[in-house]
Amino acid sequence: MGAKTDRPAPSSVEDERKRLAEAGYLADESAALVSFLAERLDKPVLVEGPAGVGKTELAKAVARATGRPLVRLQCYEGLDEAKALYEWNYRKQLLHIQARAAADEGAGESAENEIFGEGFLLERPLLTAIASGEPVVLLIDEIDKTDQEFEAMLLEVLSEFQISIPELGPVEATTQPLVFLTSNDSRELTEALKRRCLYLWIDYPSRERELEIVRLHVPDLDPKLAGKMVDVIQEIRELDLKKPPSLSESIDWARTLLLIGADDIDRETLEQSLSIIVKHRTDIDLIAERVAVKLSGPETNGQTG
């Protein structure tokens, strides 16, 4: 990945959209514009939206389009600085001291200086992104899963692009990383964080866009079948489901249809492959009741609970 050189920033929104499309991501107007602005203004982007609409994928596509390596920090509850920023390699430090003691040099002052050198530092994603010699795309995934304290710590990183390590002094970014934060909106993020970011909301795609995306990812699927599949998906999203099928699930479904060699979506096909798009029993029942009956095809037994 490092072989590629960093490409110059896009010249226009249209240019950015083309570059993303080349990287395999069909961006809508706002997504293209915001990632364009992010590259031009060096601002972090906060991407929100329901699960599985391509938030993470956008960051990956930007990484591909710009030829930058992607550094990913997956957030979870209880994530702390040691796992996000850096950690001292304690074992290596101990070994080093022991080795010196064995060589009978004693653990003098110089040893102390040595063991707090960069060689003993375990870089975690945030430090990797900042200390990297070449510009990177930093993806902080599912930021809403962390605590507010962690968010506050991020502020320094996002606005100054530097990390202070007490033993070494501050580490400053030599190149500006492109930062994407994604959130499923399960918690309201703090104003301070939002203030520093550009905001992008990605929603479920429209019928046309979804069709385009499915065709892009599963080009072998019969266009007519793909059209019908997207129609069914769009109709299913209208229902009051626990978890509506996401874009990634509809791509999975398209792949499944191709694999089982379906030539039409009838009732039987839908019921057989329903578990690909919805993952709750009650949802499956509801779809069988509302959508499947509209499709043509033989009656199957025991489809409803």
Partner: protein
């Protein structure tokens, strides 16, 4: 940036602030530099660039779109008036005699079906010219819109095979409304005073299912917090107990001196939750809210048993497991709940006695009891000691009261008798309260741990 743009933008931001969108100076600066980067003569790019830098949540974005439309519509009209650029009555409705009405109907219908936004405003103008002659205007734009819509036969309901998607028709109505507004501005020669956004426009499209979504969100947080609490504690090694056996074994390495202490692993708790929900008439307004809380809880917790009570208590766990649709659930509960005996007044005392009998064997230190009720005992014996016994047996007891704290203990409310016996009692009549309840439990792990 064209410097002439700045004052206009600033007053636009001023409008946004007036509608409650918090915009800081840094965001204004951001938006200026963003506009520098784009071709701001493209309306969509311009709008998106402003939105990305200024509107930082979905609600903000919604308000932003409304204010954006309003502000720039007014600005354009103001400009037109100042420069005297009226299209002229004749000019504007020229050719209305030549329009074939049926053809126009078809054209509009087609544009709506295919969602061609660009054509709609022209078509709306034609429709106004054709179907809303000057003399018949009611003067109220909403009435005119509906009248024109009727004339155009744009049906959205019923079983009519030619009915249209309501959302698409609404879009067309928006164009109609705008064109009518422009008409009246042009005729009056001045702008009407700016109206603040109606509360209804501003909030997300409201409906019971929307509220349900908000409740779901709060409960998802609750679920996540509870699920991970154990892990967090383990990570911080707080108040851990020494595992003597493992410490002794580890001490063999160091010649029997226990240098390294081994700790007992803490197992994350699987909460068992019992929820009791009052569904009597005194809380009927809030019981819909509570039922939706219950509904949401059921999606989130496996080991959850729910009960409803009025005079007697009845378990409804099964109903929630079988039914998905919220409306059906509330119907079923009212029809088969079997909770009202004679009077329909809540009898808390009797409920506790029955509840204790029902779950005596299942209640333990790992269980959490959550009561949703107003504690209005209708003058009957509250049997607080029976409730106290329940609370003692259970690991935790929380009471969520749908009444504001101010009303507690007034009239026949016996909240005080129960309040002291709970780990916490909270007022809970909006999703905000529900969220703060969640936060409170989450912020103080000691209260959920024993």
């Amino acid at each position: 940036m064209a410097s002439s743009l700045a004052p206009g933008l600033l007053s636009f931001f001023e409008d946004l602030r007036a509608e409650g969108v918090a915009i800081g100076t840094s965001e204004i600066l951001d938006s200026f530099s963003a506009i520098d980067q784009i071709d701001w003569t493209d309306k969509e790019d311009f709008r998106e660039a402003l939105a990305a830098t200024v509107a930082k949540s979905q609600e903000d974005r919604r308000v932003f779109d409304l204010v954006f439309d309003r502000y720039f519509f007014r600005a354009t009209e103001q400009g037109a008036l100042e420069m005297d650029l009226g299209e002229g009555e004749q000019n504007r409705h020229q050719g209305s005699n030549r329009i074939d009405l049926d053809q126009l109907r078809d054209a509009i219908r087609e544009a709506i079906v295919e969602g061609r936004d660009g054509e709609m405003s022209d078509l709306a103008q034609l429709a106004i010219a054709a179907f809303g002659p000057q003399g018949e205007r009611s003067g109220v734009i909403g009435v005119d819109v509906q009248r024109i819509r009727r004339e155009l036969e744009l049906n959205t309901g019923g079983t009519d095979p030619a009915r249209l998607d309501p959302d698409a028709v609404r879009k067309f109505e928006k164009h109609l409304r705008r064109e009518l507004e422009r008409d009246s501005i042009e005729r009056a020669g001045k702008l009407p005073p700016a109206k603040p956004l109606a509360e209804l426009d501003r909030s997300l499209p409201g409906s019971p299912t929307q509220d349900l979504a908000a409740v779901h969100k709060a409960v998802t947080q609750l679920k996540r917090r509870i699920a991970t609490l154990g892990h967090e504690q383990r990570g911080r090694r707080r108040s851990q107990t020494v595992d003597v056996r493992r410490t002794m074994r580890a001490s063999l390495e160091t010649g029997g001196v226990p240098l390294n202490l081994r700790y007992r692993n803490r197992r994350p708790r699987r909460p068992e939750i019992f929820v009791c929900c009052d569904v009597s008439t005194s809380v009927s307004s809030s019981s819909v809210f509570f039922l939706s809380v219950l509904h949401a809880l059921h999606d989130s917790f496996r080991k959850l048993r729910s009960f409803v009570f009025i005079e007697r208590i009845s378990e409804i766990t099964e109903i929630f497991e079988q039914e998905r649709d919220f409306r059906k659930i509330s119907e079923k509960i009212t029809s088969h709940g079997g909770v009202a005996d004679i009077s329909g007044y809540t009898d808390y005392g009797r409920v506790w006695l029955e509840f204790e009998e029902m779950i005596r064997d299942d209640l333990g230190p790992r269980s959490t009891v959550i009561v949703l009720g107003d504690a209005r005992a209708n003058g009957r014996d509250p049997h607080a000691e029976a409730f106290g016994k329940l609370a003692e047996r259970a690991g935790h007891t929380y009471w969520l009261n749908p009444e504001p704290k101010l009303y507690w203990n007034y009239g026949d409310s016996v909240m005080r008798a129960y309040e002291d016996r709970c780990d916490g009692a909270f007022e809970c009549w909006t999703t905000k309260h529900l969220e703060s309840f969640v936060n409170l439990i989450a912020a103080d792990p000691a209260s959920t741990r024993r």
